[in-house]
């Protein structure tokens, strides 16, 4: 018989190594579906690698893909730290994007030095409000924010569709449901000529650093950790638990909202209902893979973006379904969960015979 015993102190080496092991583990596990699909496995891995690191273009594509994931990953990481289960990143992303095109497609005109921050601010507020809703329902009525934020994703996506067929519809789009384009002044500039990677990436890195500083070095970060770890004791110690919870909800939603702004204003230029292939949900994996650390989010987002971009490239040349990327990403979440278990617990064999 075996017994599960908590480690006296979570193994530091394992805790630090878990994300890496999980990433490698999920990549190795991807060999099973690859074999199932009948692809030559070694070549497929090679193709995935060159699909990311093979050229400057492919590498910058990966950075482009990582940009929204850093934001949604931060959104999840900050919220989960306070034990706020924000699963609505996808919806908040669309809210942010919608606010960006609303403000940024000609409603207001100004120099880029003002327009870009304005669009970002609009998106952040929209996303923030998108999570404030479920958080208020939680504190007012006790309605589980997991379910409400999840369901809001569906509502918001339908709402976006409605807006794109109505008030936000681009009259020039010939019936195609898409918004008017963002005006040039509000566009996030490209970083490298002819490459799609844009200033949103630098903004994402900067945001991660700021988030790290706040969480690790300020009294607000301490309060957020306190509320997340033990809300009862935080309240007993005189912290305004509800206010902190709501503030975290707003911040988390705002981060997801900025992901949406960055996609519209940096990459696509206009809003459609296929803006995000699930960046909000993938953000949860990014956050977990990062161990909820803001700087870890950057690394995790780069890894997951590589999986997506690499698999896409491999998929095109070898005809393997690109759902392999989603599969690998989901497996990395399960791996990191399992890894966290082994860092915190050890499994001991215990004798089963009754002899003295």
């Amino acid at each position: 018989m075996i017994e599960i015993v908590p480690r006296e102190q979570p193994s530091r080496r394992l805790t630090a190594g878990v994300p890496l092991l999980a990433a490698i583990g999920s990549l190795l596990l991807a060999a099973i579906p690859l074999a199932f699909a009948g692809a030559p496995i070694i070549e497929a891995y090679g193709q995935m690698f060159t699909g990311v690191f093979g050229s400057l273009f492919s590498f910058t594509e990966m950075l482009t893909r990582a940009t929204p994931l850093i934001f949604t990953g931060l959104a999840a990481a900050v919220a989960f730290r306070a034990k706020l289960w924000n699963i609505g990143g996808e919806g908040q992303l669309y809210l942010g994007a919608m606010a960006a095109v609303w403000v940024g497609s000609g409603m207001i005109e100004g120099p880029p030095i003002l327009m870009v921050p304005l669009v970002l601010l609009a998106g952040a507020i929209a996303g923030g409000l998108g999570m404030l809703g479920p958080a208020v329902l939680k504190t007012r009525f006790g309605a589980d924010e997991v379910v409400t934020s999840l369901l809001l994703n569906f509502i918001i996506l339908i709402f976006v569709q409605m807006m794109l067929e109505g008030p936000l519809k681009d009259p020039m789009s010939l019936g195609w449901p898409q918004s008017e384009p963002i005006i040039d002044e509000a566009v996030l500039p490209q970083l490298i000529a002819k490459m799609r990677v844009h200033a949103g990436f630098l903004l994402a890195i900067g945001t991660a650093v700021v988030a790290h500083v706040i969480m690790a070095m300020t009294v607000w970060g301490l309060r957020i950790r306190a509320v997340g770890e033990n809300a009862a004791a935080a309240r007993h110690a005189g912290m305004p638990v509800k206010r902190i919870f709501l503030a975290v909800a707003f911040a988390s939603g705002a981060l997801a909202g900025i992901a949406g702004v960055s996609e519209v204003a940096g990459l696509k230029g206009y809003l459609t209902t296929d803006l995000s292939p699930g960046f909000g949900y993938t953000g949860i994996v990014v956050a977990m893979l990062a161990g909820l650390s803001p700087l870890g989010v950057v690394a995790a987002a780069l890894f997951i973006a590589s999986v997506f971009v690499g698999t896409d490239s491999m998929s095109r040349t070898m005809g393997v379904s690109s759902f392999l990327a989603d599969l690998t990403v989901s497996m990395s979440l399960i791996c990191v969960l399992l890894g966290g278990f082994f860092a915190r617990f050890q499994i001991r064999r215990v004798r089963t015979e009754g002899a003295a």
Binding site: R225, N230, A233
Partner: protein
């Protein structure tokens, strides 16, 4: 029914377990043992909770297992019962026909089949189920239709009559009182025809009178061949109720003797390892009123038992002890003073202000230091470091932050100084406080509370679960704070602690607070049970 039970004699008259005369006791049975524990050992991480403990139990005997909290009593019993898997050692049980069996470790089912029953200190009842569902849980085939229970019901009713333990079979457990729940726990064991019954701190939640009734019931079952292991840290009960005593300390058995021959001083020495060194109570010198509760009421549905029209004056330089069985309104009182609960009516006067309610912030601002009852739940944030936990009540202070940035160096200096002064031992000030022992966590909280020199201290069960040395240290600190001029409200279910520390004694029952001049256990016990003195 395999267990012969006879009608119980009436609960003994009078109060105080000491009235159970020693002639009703079995003389130390020399008959065959029913149970033998050999070399039982259990480690939790680096802590050895039980270290090669041997124990024998004879048929029809009450063996008291005595020891302080953390001595290993509950751990030992949990191994016997298969809740914990022993790291070493074996459990031998003898059937009535003399056949010896060895219980496989870590299997509650084996203990149940050997007809060993345990009444846990923390009730193991499913509150969303009825009493009968709880009792029959695990005794029926899983697809058994639970409408077909005539036989089970008849057996239970007979059992209740014979044992004198009544419980409403069809009520949900969540609607029962603590005393009723405990009776359900015992009935659960008896229903399985136990031959060996383990009672883990059974009187912790009972009034002295209820405890006497319980002892009388158990005693009559023992007369009929039941063997009992009775776990307690209350010396008085143990001397009154047991046939034999085994003492544990730090996971080791330090002594064993017949109760009739027991000598109190030597037992205490075995329990705590050295001479009894209780802080001497010096009389306080009460000054002005620092807190006044004026006709404060809380509806019973909002917090256990609520409060009924409670008025309380606390003066500078005194310790007011609040005795009573837990769950009689103490938690409402404590929460009001901690700022966690707003009373329905009444006023709170503190620091010259009259308020309808406090919140944790205003409580702190008015100089009320709080030592919470559940230190793990309310007192510390386990994932934060010792240094961080020491400042969580004053995060806005200039030595903690500047412009929102934490002043790590100054926090560390603060933590070093306080750990030294209050003897907080652990893996260091930057380690997560989860790694501290219960006693050190309590010292951490004490340090946090006392360093701000509060004018009022709410100490709610401040020594619960601490070993003797840590408890004495806490008591000494409280007395010192009082002598510096703080007013202290001490809520404790340990009457001995109240009597040894308090300058004034109040008793809480059913949400009401009554002051008493008496220092006698019996008359205070009457008040605790709700009888006028």
């Amino acid at each position: 029914m395999a267990l012969p039970v006879a009608p119980v004699p009436h609960a003994l008259p009078g109060s105080g377990a000491a009235l159970i005369a020693s002639d009703t006791r079995h003389e130390m049975t020399t008959s065959k043992p029913v149970l033998s524990l050999r070399g039982m050992t259990k480690r939790f991480g680096s802590v050895v909770a039980a270290d090669h403990i041997d124990l024998e139990l004879a048929r029809g005997e009450v063996l008291a297992l005595l020891g302080e909290n953390g001595a290993g009593k509950t751990t030992l019993m949990n191994m016997l019962f298969g809740q914990y898997t022993a790291d070493a050692g074996s459990v031998h049980v003898w059937h009535e026909d003399g056949a010896e069996i060895i219980l496989p470790p870590g299997q509650p089912q084996a203990a149940i089949e050997a007809r060993i029953g345990m009444v846990h200190q923390h009730f193991t009842l499913a509150e969303n189920l009825s009493v009968i569902d709880n009792i029959l849980l695990g005794t029926e085939r899983l697809l058994h239709l639970n409408r077909n229970r005539r036989a089970a019901r008849a057996k239970l009713e007979a059992l209740m009559i014979h044992s004198g333990l009544e419980a409403p079979l069809d009520r949900k457990v969540r609607d029962l009182s603590v005393g009723e729940r405990q009776r359900v726990e015992i009935l659960k064991a008896l229903y399985r025809d136990v031959r060996i019954l383990v009672l883990d701190e059974p009187t912790a939640v009972l009034t002295p009178q209820e405890a006497d009734t319980l002892f009388a019931s158990v005693r009559s079952m023992v007369e009929n061949g039941l063997s009992v292991i009775f776990i307690s840290h209350k010396l008085r009960e143990v001397l009154a109720f047991s046939d034999r005593i085994a003492v544990l300390r730090h996971g080791k058995k330090t002594g064993e003797m017949r109760t009739a021959e027991a000598d109190t001083a030597s037992i205490i020495r075995m329990m705590i390892g050295e001479e009894h060194d209780m802080p001497e109570r010096t009389p306080g010198m009460p000054g002005d009123t620092v807190v006044r509760l004026d006709s404060v009421s809380v509806h019973p549905e909002r917090e256990t038992r609520g409060l009924r029209d409670v008025t309380l004056d606390l003066r500078r330089g005194e310790i007011v002890g609040i005795a009573g069985v837990s769950g009689n309104g103490q938690s409402a009182l404590a929460q009001i003073l901690s700022g966690l609960l707003a009373p329905d009516s009444g006023r709170i006067e503190v620091g010259g202000e009259s308020l309808a309610a406090l919140n944790p912030r205003t409580a702190l601002a008015h100089g009320i230091g709080r030592i919470p009852e559940d230190r793990h739940h309310d007192g510390i944030i386990a994932a934060l470091s010792v240094a961080e936990n020491l400042v969580i009540e004053r995060l806005d202070d200039a030595d903690v932050q500047r412009g929102g940035f934490l002043r790590r160096a100054s926090m560390a200096a603060n933590a070093e100084a306080l750990s030294e002064a209050y003897d907080v031992r652990g893996p260091g000030i930057h380690a997560r406080s989860a790694l501290l022992s219960g006693g050190n966590i309590q010292k951490l909280i004490l340090a946090r509370v006392l360093e701000t020199h509060p004018s009022v201290i709410l100490a709610n069960q401040p020594t619960r679960g601490l070993d003797f040395r840590a408890a004495a240290e806490v008591s000494r600190r409280l007395i010192a704070a009082r002598d510096r001029g703080a007013g202290i409200i001490l809520i404790s279910e340990d009457l001995d602690e109240v009597l040894s520390l308090a300058d004034r004694v109040l008793v809480m029952h059913a949400g009401e607070l009554v002051e008493t001049d008496s220092r006698e256990r019996a008359s205070i016990g009457q008040l605790m049970a709700g009888h006028a003195a």
